[in-house]
C-alpha cells in the first residue's frame, strides 16, 4: 500500500516536472537567454560573484528599457564552482540545454581555456571580462579585458620614463598569466636596453605566504644604486602577506614602487591597506575616476546590490562595455544568431566609464585607456598617469618570438592566428 | 649486512620473489631441543622486560610458563615470534634456524604458531575461512589469487574442525562465536598451520569449567606430535596439564621443575604471596 502511494507520488512529481518544463519552454520563446558562467562557490567566488551580480544588474536595466529586439532578457545563472572541468560542463549545459544566445563569464585563464573548445564546437558567444595574457583570439570569444599591451607595457613605460626605474623585479605567481606577461616584459625591457643583470624574475606558488626571503632579496637587489621597481603579477591571496612584508622590511613605495596588475578595488576592500599606500596598479578603470558616466554607474550598482559601501572595479567595467556592445550588435544585426552577432560586433563603439570610447577591433579585443594609480589609504586609487589616447588591444604580442608573426583578424583574414610569414591560418578553421 | 643485500632482502620480502627458496627450514630437533632462548634481554624505556632470560623447550614437550604480571611472559612470546627484537641474546628454533633474523611470517612458516592472550580470530570471516587462511601451504600472493585450496588442505581443515568441535559452526561468522569457541577456533587455526611449536597464551581465560576441561584434553592430545608452550595463570588448569613448569619473575627464570616442586619452592612462594 505504502509502496503504491510512493510510486503514485513519484509519477505525480514527474508530471509536474514535465508540465513545468513545457511551460518554461513556451516562456523561453518570448525571451532572449543570457548565460552567466561565473563561480559562485570555491576559491574564485570572491571575485566572480561580483561579476555575476553585474550582469544581472545590466540585464535588469536593459529589461526596464524594454529589452532587446522587443524581447525581455532572461538570465541563466550556473555555478561552475571554481572547478575547471566543471566550467566546460556548465558551458556545454548553457549552450546545448539552455540554448542561451550569449554567455558572460570566466575569470581565470584556465577556465577560459577549459570552455574554449565547447564554445567553438557549439558556436557559442562568450564575453570574457578580465585582463589576461593574450596569445589567443577565438571567433567565438570577445575579450573585453586588457591584453598585455594595454596594461603591462604602459605600466613599465610609466616606471621607466616617469619614475626613472633602471632595475626591474618581475615577481609573479607561477601560472600562465604572469609567466607570459613577464616573458613579454623581459623582451620589452631588453629591447629598451635593460641588461640581464638588471632584471630579477621570481615565481611563487598560489597563496604564498612566507615572503621574508623574497622581499629580502628584492631589498638587496634594490640596493645596488639604481632606481628599482617591482612589476607584480602576484595573484590574489598572496598579495597581502607580500605587501605586509614589504612594509615591515621598510621598503616604501618611494624607494621601490610596486606596480600590480591584479590588485583592484575589490581586492583592496578586503585587506589592511596601510602597507600598500603609494604602491601602484595599472588598470583600464578606476572607481575614483571622476566622470558622470562612472558616478552614474556606481550609484546604480550600489542601489542594485543594496550596499552603499560596495566598490566597483575594472572587470565590472569590462562587462558593462561587453554587454552594451552585445546589445548594440544584436540590434544592428536584428538577430541574436551567433554568426550574425559576431559579424556585427566588430566596429561597434560604446563609451567607457572613464571617458573615451571603446571600439571592438577585428581581433576581438578592445581599445582601452590605460591608467596608473597609486593606492590610497581608503582602498581607492589616485590616478597618477594616463595614456594620451586609447590603446588598441593586441592579441598576439610583438615581443614573443612565437607570436610576433601572428595576427588575428576576423574581418578580412577570417582567422585568429594568421601567420604572416607562412601565410597560414593554423588550427582554428571552423568553417 | 651491507646495504645492497639489505635492499635485496627487503625487495624479496615485499615482492615475494624467491619466497620459496628463502623459506626457512623447519626446526631441526635432532638434538631433542626445539627452542633455545639464551641470555635474552629486552628493555622498554629503561624498564627491563626480559633480563638475561635463558630457556629451552624439548621437542614434543608440553611446557607451562607461569609468573606474576610483568614477569615478561608476553614479551618472551613476542621475541620468539619476531614481533619484538631483543637487545641482547640469541633465539634459535632447533639447531638451524636463527629466529632473530626472520620476520613474523617467516617464523610462522618455519613452524611456530601463536595463540594470543586475547582471542584474535578474523571476526568478519566465517569459521571455515579463518581455517582456510591459516592452513599450511603456499601463502604467496599469486598462489592465493589464482588457485583454490587443494584436496589435502581441505582434508586437513576438516580434521581440525573436528578436533576443535566446530564442524556445525563452519559457516558462522567468527565474530558470532562464544568466547570459548573463539579460543578453540584460534587453537584450530594454530593446528591448521601445522606448526612444530605452539605458543599458547592464556587459553582458558573466561572459559566455563567444561570448556576448560575440554581445552586441557585438547592440549594434552597435542603434546608429543607438537611442542606446546602454555602461558597460564589458572593454577588448577596448569596442574591438570603440566608436566614441567617454568616460573618467570622480573624477566628471568626463577624456578623450573614439576608443578609440585615449583609450588614448594620458597622463592616462588615469596613472589606469589608477597613479602
Amino acid at each position: 500500500m505504502h509502496n503504491k502511494f510512493g510510486k503514485l507520488r513519484g509519477l505525480g512529481k514527474l508530471a509536474v516536472a514535465v508540465a513545468l518544463m513545457a511551460a518554461s519552454a513556451a516562456h523561453a520563446a518570448d525571451t532572449i537567454k543570457v548565460g552567466v558562467l561565473h563561480s559562485l562557490s570555491g576559491t574564485m567566488a570572491i571575485s566572480e560573484t561580483t561579476l555575476k551580480d553585474t550582469v544581472l544588474m545590466l540585464i535588469e536595466e536593459q529589461n526596464k528599457r524594454g529589452g532587446v529586439l522587443g524581447k525581455k532578457l532572461e538570465p541563466v545563472v550556473v555555478d561552475p564552482a571554481s572547478n575547471w572541468p566543471l566550467f566546460a560542463e556548465k558551458a556545454e549545459q548553457l549552450l546545448v540545454k539552455d540554448k542561451v544566445s550569449v554567455v558572460f563569464g570566466c575569470w581565470t585563464s584556465v577556465s577560459r581555456k577549459s570552455v574554449l573548445p565547447v564554445f567553438e564546437k557549439n558556436n557559442g558567444l562568450l564575453f570574457y571580462p578580465v585582463q589576461y595574457e593574450g596569445e589567443e583570439s577565438s571567433k567565438n570569444v570577445f575579450y573585453t579585458g586588457a591584453a598585455p599591451n594595454q596594461q603591462a607595457i604602459p605600466a613599465v613605460d610609466y616606471l621607466m620614463n616617469d619614475v626613472g626605474v633602471k632595475r626591474w623585479v618581475l615577481a609573479g605567481t607561477d601560472y600562465v598569466y604572469p609567466r607570459t606577461t613577464n616573458k613579454i616584459l623581459e623582451a620589452y625591457l631588453k629591447s629598451k636596453g635593460v641588461k640581464d643583470e638588471d632584471i630579477m624574475i621570481n615565481y611563487t606558488p598560489f597563496g604564498h605566504s612566507n615572503w621574508q626571503r623574497i622581499v629580502a632579496d628584492i631589498k638587496k637587489f634594490g640596493s645596488a644604486g639604481k632606481k628599482t621597481g617591482v612589476v607584480s603579477t602576484i595573484n590574489g591571496d598572496a598579495n597581502v602577506p607580500f605587501y605586509k612584508e614589504l612594509g615591515n622590511q621598510k621598503i616604501s613605495a618611494e624607494d621601490i614602487p610596486v606596480v600590480a596588475f591584479s590588485v583592484g578595488e575589490e581586492e583592496l576592500s578586503g585587506i589592511d591597506t596601510k602597507p600598500l599606500v603609494g604602491h601602484l596598479a595599472a588598470w583600464n578603470y578606476f572607481m575614483s575616476v571622476d566622470t558622470p558616466e562612472n558616478a552614474g554607474f556606481i550609484k546604480k550598482w550600489r542601489a542594485f546590490i543594496k550596499n552603499d559601501k560596495r566598490v566597483t572595479n575594472d572587470p565590472m567595467e569590462a562587462h558593462v562595455i561587453g554587454f552594451n556592445m552585445w546589445v548594440k550588435a544584436v540590434e544592428k544585426a536584428n538577430s541574436t544568431e551567433v554568426n550574425k552577432v559576431i559579424d556585427a560586433m566588430v566596429g561597434i563603439e560604446v563609451p567607457n566609464l572613464t571617458g573615451g570610447v571603446a571600439r571592438m577591433l577585428p581581433n576581438h579585443h578592445l581599445t582601452k585607456p590605460v591608467l596608473i594609480g597609486e593606492v590610497r589609504a581608503d582602498g581607492q586609487f589616485d590616478t597618477v598617469w594616463q595614456t594620451e589616447g586609447l590603446v588598441p588591444g593586441d592579441a598576439w604580442s610583438d615581443f614573443l618570438p612565437g607570436s610576433k608573426d601572428i595576427e588575428a583578424d576576423w574581418v578580412s583574414l577570417k582567422c585568429g592566428n594568421y601567420n604572416t610569414k607562412t601565410k597560414k591560418c593554423s588550427g582554428q578553421n571552423y568553417e | 649486512m651491507n646495504a645492497s643485500t639489505s635492499l635485496r632482502n627487503g625487495w624479496q620480502k615485499v615482492f615475494g620473489a624467491g619466497a620459496k627458496s628463502e623459506r626457512p627450514p623447519p626446526g631441526d630437533t635432532s638434538h631433542g631441543t626445539i627452542l633455545y632462548l639464551e641470555d635474552i634481554s629486552v628493555s622498554f624505556d629503561g624498564f627491563k622486560a626480559l633480563n638475561a632470560l635463558t630457556l629451552y623447550i624439548d621437542a614434543g614437550e608440553l611446557r607451562c610458563i607461569i609468573g606474576p604480571n610483568g614477569a615478561g611472559k608476553t614479551t618472551m612470546m613476542d621475541v620468539i615470534t619476531g614481533k619484538t627484537r631483543p637487545d641482547a641474546g640469541s633465539a634459535w628454533f632447533g639447531q638451524n634456524t636463527d629466529l632473530l633474523t626472520l620476520t613474523e611470517p617467516q617464523i610462522a612458516e618455519a613452524g611456530i604458531g601463536r595463540k594470543f592472550q586475547k582471542p584474535t580470530v578474523f571476526e568478519q570471516h566465517t569459521v571455515m575461512e579463518n581455517l582456510e587462511l591459516a592452513v599450511a601451504g603456499n601463502k604467496a600472493i599469486w598462489s592465493t589469487l589464482a588457485s583454490p585450496l587443494d584436496s589435502r588442505q581441505r582434508t586437513h581443515i576438516e580434521e581440525v574442525l573436528e578436533t576443535v568441535c566446530l564442524q556445525d559452526r563452519r559457516d558462522m561468522r567468527a565474530g558470532m562465536l562464544s568466547h570459548g569457541q573463539k579460543q578453540w577456533l584460534e587453537i584450530g587455526m594454530l593446528l591448521a598451520q601445522q606448526p612444530q611449536l605452539l605458543l599458547v597464551d592464556e587459553p582458558v581465560a573466561g572459559m566455563t569449567p567444561q570448556e576448560v576441561e575440554r581445552t586441557a584434553e585438547l592440549l594434552l592430545s597435542l603434546a608429543g606430535k607438537h611442542s606446546v608452550m602454555v602461558v597460564e595463570h589458572d593454577m588448577d588448569f596448569v596442574r591438570s596439564i603440566a608436566r614441567k613448569v617454568t616460573v618467570l619473575h622480573e624477566g628471568h627464570v626463577l624456578a623450573e621443575g614439576s608443578i609440585d616442586e615449583v609450588q614448594n619452592d620458597p622463592r616462588v612462594v615469596e613472589v606469589y604471596l608477597g613479602e
Binding site: T43, I46, Q212, R213, N248 | -
Partner: protein, 553 residues
Amino acid sequence: MKLLGCMMSSIPGVRPGSLLLVLLLAALSHCVAASEAPSFEQALGALATSNFKQKERAAGELVGVRHANTRAVLDALLEGNLYYRKADKRVFIAVTQEAGLELRDALTLQSAGTADAADFSKITTNNQLRKTLRSALASFDLTDPDAQVRLGAVNEMLRSLDADSVSILRARERDEKDESVRQAIRTGLAIADLNHEDAARRLSAVEQLKGSLNPEVFNRLTALVSTSDDGSYTEPDAKVRSAARAALAGIENSRSFYSMLETLFFGLSLGSVLVLAAIGLAITFGVMGVINMAHGELMMLGAYTTYVVQLIMPQHIGASVLVAIPVAFVVAGGVGVLIERGVVRFLYGRPLETLLATFGVSLVLQQIVRDIFTANNRPVETPSWMSGSLQINEAFSITYNRLYVVLFMLIVFVILQWVLKKTSLGLKVRAVAQNRAMAKSMGVRTEWVDALTFGLGSGIAGVAGVALSQLTNVGPNLGQAYIIDSFMVVVFGGVGNLWGTLIGGMSLGVVNQFLEPHAGAVLAKILVLIALILFIQRRPRGLFPQLGRAAEG
C-alpha cells in the same frame, strides 16, 4: 651660488635630484626671491593642477620663496590635506569632517569655515613628489635643535646623495656638534670622496669606510675595483684598488655572515608559525589520537575573532591583538568542545573515522564563516608596535611581527608544557591518554577530561589563528593552507611529544629557508615534503617516538 639657486628654481622641468639641491641651497643661503621668480601666492596657485610635473615645480618654487607658511603647506600636501576649489582654483588646507571639509586658507592659514567636499579637488601627490617633499622638509630639519631630528634629516638626504648635496653636508659638518649626526655626515662625505681626484683622499675614504655595511658603500667600492669595457680599471691607482679589495672582502665576509643569520631567523620564524599551527594538533592528535581535520578551521576562527575584536575596539588597535588572544582561545576552545561532544566522542579509538567526520565539520565551519563574513578576505590591521623592523645593523634587521611570533610561540609552548606537566588537568589528561579504563576506575571523569583536552587543543589553534591574522589573509580558506603542514610537523616530531613538535617544526622551517634561495619557494616546499615522506618511512614514529609497550601495536 645664490644666483645659481634662484635661477635654477625657475628653470622648468628640473629633475628631482637637482630640485633637492635647489631646495637645500634655498634653505641655507636665505635666497631672496628675484624679481622674475614667482611669489608665494603664484607658486601656491600653480599647485592647483593635476599635472605632477607642474606640481613638483610649484613645490620647488614654494620652498624657493621661503615664505613663513611654506612648511605648513608642504606638510599638508604630504599628508594629503591640500585642496583647491574647483570654481576659482584657490588652495586650502582642509580636514574632512562630518559636515564636509573644514577649511583653512593656505595663503593666510586663517580658518575659512566648512564647505561641501564636492566643490573641491584634492591636490594629489605621487611617490616622486612625496620623496622630494620629504627631502625638502628634511632640509628644514637640518638646523633643528633636536639631534634626533637632524640625524633623520641627514639620513633622508643620504637616500639620494649627489655631488651637490655633498657640499651642503660638508658645510653642515663644521657646525654639527652631535657625534652621531657628525658620523652620519662623515660616512656620506667619505662615499663622496671615493670620487675625489686626489688618490690619497680616495685611499683614506676607503680606509674610513672599510667596516661599513651600508649598501651604498659596497656598490661604490665594487665600482672601484671593476674594469670598464676596454679592460682598464675605473680606478687608476693600484693602492686604492687593493685597499678597496681588502675592504670589500671584509664587507662581504660580514655580509654573508649576516645573511646566514638572516636565513636562520627566517627559518626560525617560519618554524614558529608551523609549531603554532601544529601544537594544538599535537594535543588532539598526539594525546587523544583524534585526527582533527577541522583544526585549520579552528585557527581560522581565531583569526576571525581578531577581526571582530578589532571591529569592537577600533580605537585601540594596538591592544586589540592582545585582547583577541584570550577571546580566540575561548571561542575556538568552545567550538572545539562542541565538536568533541557532538561528533568526536562517538569515535574514540577509530582515528580514521574521526578524520572523515571532522573533515565534514571543517566544510561546515568554512561555509558558516562565508555566510557570516562573506567569502571576501577580512582586513585585520597590524598594530603599530608590530610593524616595522628591528635594525641590528645595515645588513641585518628583524621584522617585529616575525620576532613577536617567535616569542609568542615560545610563550604558548611553555604555558602548554606547564599545563600538561604541573596542573591536575594535565595529570588527568596524561592519565586518560595512557589508560582510559584505569583512569576512569580511579575516579577521573574521562568524558570531562576528553572534552577539556580537545577544547585545549582547539583553543591553542584559535590562539595560533590570532598570530596568523598578523601574517596572512583572514579568509575562509585560511585553515586549509596549514592543515597538511601541521600534520606533517606533528608526525615528523613524533606523536604525543610536544618537544618533538617544537623541534620538528623549527627544523622544518629552517631547512625550508636554507633550501629556498637555491631551489626557489615551490621546489623547496616540495623537497621538504618528499624528505618528510622518506623520513617517516625510515622512522615511522617520528623524531622522538614514544617509547615502550604503549607505543607498540
